[in-house]
Symmetry: C2
Subunit: 102 residues, 2 copies
Amino acid sequence: MSNEQTKRLTKAFKALSNPNRLQLFMNLLAESRLDLVAGRVHDCFLSGLLRNLKIGAPTVSHHVKELENAELITTHRDGKHLVCSINPDMIRQLKTLFPDIA
Amino acid sequence: MSNEQTKRLTKAFKALSNPNRLQLFMNLLAESRLDLVAGRVHDCFLSGLLRNLKIGAPTVSHHVKELENAELITTHRDGKHLVCSINPDMIRQLKTLFPDIA
DNA sequence: TTTATAGTTCGACAACTTTGAAAGTGTCTG
DNA sequence: CAGACACTTTCAAAGTTGTCGAACTATAAA
């Protein structure tokens, strides 16, 4: 595995290694699942992804940036809201990393 | 996603979030790949998995324990050597987390 | 313009992580 | 047994992370 690939993957795994960040990401992934398998992008408001999370706004903001920096999600503003979407490329990379087991 | 599942997954992702640990695990995965897809277990000596790693023995020992604690690998002693194997259950869990994307 | 909503930036701090030096254990080989 | 080998344990230094309070920006609604 290339050095660059290792760096990209460790960043992604680190981003998923915190319970609150993982929950945030999994909430987004769950809501996006149907659209992803159909090859479409799914947009969610950040405010809608916080159901199970018991952390303050500054912490959420920090976690979102880590997920973004790890290229697991993309974001853009829509008025008052931050819109989050899964980055399908990274999902593909992670999925292919692990073999299909008999 | 259940609380227990979240805990198990964050542990696995944390274990893969360090470059040296990821490299170690990927070395093992690469050597195990053919056996895994055929439904077999593959055994490697730890000493054989250290090709690209520039870290001391105590650090290796620590990293192996983290991978083991995360249920990504299993180990047992064989004389002087530590034998490492991929845990196929965890690979399956990780693989199914991410959807197949069109 | 005032108020409310949604998120960001900054600064701080406790907790955790990575790493290696030194010393230790168990196993094989001569 | 003596030495080498492969790993482990303990300890401590240096660095990183998760979190929050306080203050901030941007947008929308009244």
